[in-house]
């Protein structure tokens, strides 16, 4: 059991720091955003599992040869309120830390969900009063504002795409269609669930390199995935033009008269945080300007198989009785 604990700890360290750093620098991710997304998810899951698992296995080591058996005995001790001298201080420390970390992760996930839901509900209430349905495009609301803005508000059957007057004015019909396809792709592919999970992961352990890197990577990959859906019906140049018009039209232009100038302030960038948006927008536009072929079948399969393996390793280490040690 002790060897299992050390192997899990090693895996947890690798997945917390060197692996995500390497992946966030890898250039193939923009060629196959889907495979990269799967890999990030498995890094996060396997990372969390091995972190908690390492402490659990270490703490339960004196109680049995495999995790399930030891866990059963530990529960017996707790429920029976029995004294034991098998567990020493560091075992108990590891067990408490594992329990705390597990609870913390689940609570943060729930808390983030609650906060996001509240915020969306408030946003939707305001939107209902301030916007009007677009006559031409279904499930689309138009809001009166000169800055070009497009976004989607997920909410099951009430999901909507929101466009601003400024956007409708600035874009040609083809460019507008690309933007709407892009936003719809976010909704149909349920990107908000991915963003929620990785946002919670980052908020739970903000000091861990992997959580920040994965959050940034996922928000960038989600945009690439949505772009790829838009590219099915729109030529790349049109999509690039739409991106440029929205990004430069709104950001560079001064606030129009009669409107509060607070609409596009400098975003509050946390100190010490690299500007993730900058790299993301550049990467997104570069892959449209000079498209590279998607990753070959063999390499995509390798990435997906690697992701599966990454999840399998901690699971097997935890559950296989007496496999090691």
């Amino acid at each position: 059991m002790l060897l299992t604990a050390y192997l899990l700890a090693l895996l947890a360290i690798l997945l917390a720091w060197p692996v995500p750093v390497a992946l966030s620098r890898a250039r193939w991710t923009s060629r196959s955003p889907f495979a990269a997304m799967v890999l990030w998810q498995s890094i996060a899951l396997a990372g969390g599992l091995s972190m908690i698992g390492a402490m659990l296995v270490y703490g339960l080591e004196p109680l049995g040869d495999n995790l399930l058996q030891a866990l059963r005995r530990a529960i017996g001790i707790v429920l029976g309120n029995r004294a034991t001298d098998e567990l020493h201080f560091w075992h108990l420390f590891a067990l408490c830390a594992a329990a705390l970390l597990g609870t913390h992760l689940i609570f943060t996930l729930g808390l983030t969900y609650a906060r996001i839901t509240t915020q969306r509900r408030r946003h939707r209430a305001l939107l209902e009063v301030l916007s009007s349905p677009s006559g031409a495009i279904e499930r689309t609301l138009v809001i009166n504002h000169p800055a070009p803005v497009a976004y989607c508000l997920p909410g099951g059957s009430r999901s909507v795409t929101v466009l601003s007057d400024g956007l409708l004015e600035a874009l040609s019909p083809a460019e507008l269609a690309a933007v709407v396809d892009h936003e719809r792709a976010h909704l149909t592919q349920r990107h908000h669930l991915l963003l929620w999970a990785f946002e919670a992961w980052r908020q739970a352990l903000p000091w861990l390199p992997t959580t920040r890197l994965s959050r940034a990577a996922v928000s960038s990959l989600v945009e690439m995935l949505a772009d790829d859906i838009a590219r099915r019906t729109t030529p790349d140049e049109t999509l690039v033009r739409a991106i440029a018009l929205v990004a430069l039209g709104g950001g560079a232009a001064e606030a129009p008269q009669g409107l509060p100038a607070v609409v596009r302030p400098e975003p509050a960038i946390e100190p010490g945080m690299p500007d993730e948006g900058e790299a993301s927008l550049a990467a997104r536009v570069s892959r449209l300007l000079t498209p590279r072929p998607p990753l070959g079948r063999a390499r995509t399969t390798a990435v997906l198989a690697g992701s599966g393996l990454l999840l399998a390793v901690p699971t097997v280490l935890l559950l296989a009785p007496g496999l090691v040690g």
Binding site: H123, V129, I143, V149, A244, A247, G251, A252, V263
Partner: protein, 120 residues
């Protein structure tokens, strides 16, 4: 009969168009003048809409007088600005997990983008 959402929008438009607080009766009269479909609008409907808007934090009620007078909490522009902040991810609580086409763009980003476009 208009949907509740549409009614809320019309009521807010009326409240935003004046600086004074209005009673439900006055609002109904003004709605009847301005809109074709609101001819048979009951005061109770207006009151329902107003209480929904109050719950949403868009409308406040002056309790000193009878009948109650209602006014918009803040201007249409302020609300729109807040909406846009949230949409662009520049709101102080940065959790709005809204997928936006382009978030807020800094000067550095705009420069990078221009450079890329010039090269492409």
């Amino acid at each position: 009969m208009a949907s509740l959402g549409e009614l809320e929008r019309s009521v807010m438009d009326q409240l935003w168009s004046t600086s004074e607080a209005s009673t439900a009766n006055e609002l109904r009269d003004r709605l009847a003048q301005s809109e074709v479909q609101s001819k048979d609008l009951a005061v109770t409907t207006v009151l329902t809409v107003l209480s929904r808007l109050e719950k949403k934090g868009l409308v406040e009620r002056e309790r000193g007088t009878r009948p109650h007078r209602y006014r918009a909490v803040s201007t249409r522009e302020d609300h729109t600005a807040r909406l846009m902040h949230e949409a662009l991810g520049t709101a102080p609580d940065r959790e709005a997990v809204l997928a936006r086409f382009i978030g807020s763009v800094t000067e550095a980003e705009a420069a990078t983008l221009r450079r890329l476009l010039a090269r492409g």
